[in-house]
């Protein structure tokens, strides 16, 4: 894969916005990979948690905003608990989701789910899904 690293991308407002919304210092990450090693969702992800941090450091905006992973992460906080540099990876992923959700790009349309899909889903599931995946 060809990767273009540029000052322009790194200094893009996107990187600053992620740092602001997540409250994390992205450059603290030294790519040990521990976050991805313990993440229960990696088998469904297209970009792994440590790669999300790397891409965020480098300002890979399109790759991150298009990635499946940000909607696969369930904020289980395993990565946060294990990062040796104290980075809250789940908060970084939340920041990327927020950037899309604040443009009203909802990920879940509960009104489109059929009755059988909704089944006997408890309120706790519906409310948390709406809170995480809609604006």
């Amino acid at each position: 894969m060809r990767i273009n690293i540029s000052k322009r991308k790194i200094r893009d407002r996107f990187v600053a916005k992620i740092e602001e919304l997540s409250g994390q210092n992205l450059l603290a990450c030294y790519q040990c990979g521990k976050c991805s090693a313990g993440c229960p969702a990696v088998s469904q992800m297209d970009i792994l948690p440590n790669q999300i941090i790397r891409f965020a450091q480098l300002g890979f905006k399109d790759e991150l905003l298009k990635s499946k992973s940000i909607w696969i992460c369930a904020s289980c906080f395993t990565c946060n608990a294990r990062c040796p540099k104290g980075i809250n990876i789940a908060e970084v992923i939340e920041a990327i989701r927020q950037i899309l959700l604040r443009k009203r790009e909802d990920h879940v349309q509960v009104q489109k789910l059929s009755d059988s899909e909704k089944g006997d889903i408890p309120p706790i599931a519906l409310i948390s899904s709406l809170r995480k995946f809609t604006s």
Binding site: F77, A81, I124, A125, S129
Partner: protein, 292 residues
């Protein structure tokens, strides 16, 4: 002992078995439970974005209700409510400026919130205030021979700052099940995420996790899995329906709230266990062990 109680939405319907078994058990232990008046949904998840103050209003309003009922302590059962209430509280305690803003926003509330309510999970109440030794003395029906895999999930233990036990290897449920006379079994998935709210639009992910978590518990000889969160309970119990479609060789295993085990051991009647709300019927295995 009297304690204020915040139930949360799901405890009043899908997880009525969690609530009823708890209320019966606490009654047996001589605890007077007072449900908060005018409580509202906590929002279920703690807002992670630094600038998103508005979503802390819902959990904090409930803490105002605690103050209004002349208490400074509140107990909750649901792991998600516990996490959300406690994190929102910690957030404003460490950031007085945001607390001021939130209070200003809730200007119609008579009480200004000061960050001074303690949030307790039922497990903490049992361990730290009622004490496990006292519970041991009140057990009338020891859960002899019942092999229990205790599943914590995420939100009772993470993040570390608010978790009620060790972040990687919690043992509070194992201690409690031992006190109740059961045999806790160890398995590597006890703090692995069940997929949580992914169950709404990606039930396949949850069916897969359920398969991994439950087959791991079964391989260690578990008769049942004990949980403490209504969302984990739904995913591990009701989603077995999907799991078995994906993995036809999968064998069902009953999922119980730890409070149902407590209620059985303390001699609560079967009505308090509400087995009608389960997908996998726990009765056969409990009958086989002579517990119901």
């Amino acid at each position: 002992m009297k304690i204020s109680y915040y139930p949360g939405c799901t405890l009043k319907n899908n997880a009525k078995n969690f609530e009823d078994s708890t209320l019966c058990s606490l009654n047996k232990l001589g605890i007077q439970v007072e449900e908060l008046p005018r409580w509202n949904c906590c929002g279920t998840v703690f807002s992670l974005a630094t600038d998103d103050l508005i979503h802390h209003l819902a959990p904090l309003r409930n803490l105002i209700r605690v103050k209004e009922s002349n208490s400074d302590k509140v107990m909750t059962l649901c792991a998600m409510c516990y996490n959300t209430l406690k994190r929102a509280n910690e957030r404003v305690k460490s950031d007085p400026e945001s607390l001021d803003k939130i209070n200003e926003f809730m200007y119609r509330e008579k009480v200004k919130y000061k960050g001074d309510v303690k949030i307790l999970h039922l497990l903490e109440l049992l361990r730290d205030e009622i004490k496990f030794e006292t519970i041991a003395q009140q057990v009338v029906k020891p859960l002899k021979g019942l092999k229990v895999a205790n599943y914590y999930g995420c939100l009772l233990v993470r993040p570390k700052e608010i978790g009620l036990d060790d972040v990687e290897n919690p043992t509070i449920l194992e201690t409690l099940t031992t006190v109740l006379g059961a045999v806790p079994i160890d398995f590597p998935y006890k703090t692995e995420c069940c997929g949580a709210y992914q169950t709404v639009d990606k039930p396949d992910i949850v069916a897969e996790r359920t398969y991994q978590i439950l087959t791991s518990a079964q391989s260690q000889g578990a008769d049942i899995v004990a949980v403490s969160c209504p969302l984990c309970a739904f995913n591990l119990d009701h989603r077995q329906q999907h799991t078995v479609k994906k993995y036809p060789e999968f064998k069902h295993i009953p999922i119980l709230y730890f409070t149902q085990l407590l209620a059985i051991a303390l001699g609560c009647p079967e009505e308090a266990l509400r087995f009608d709300l389960h997908y996998v019927d726990p009765k056969p295995v409990l009958k086989e062990k002579g517990l119901i």
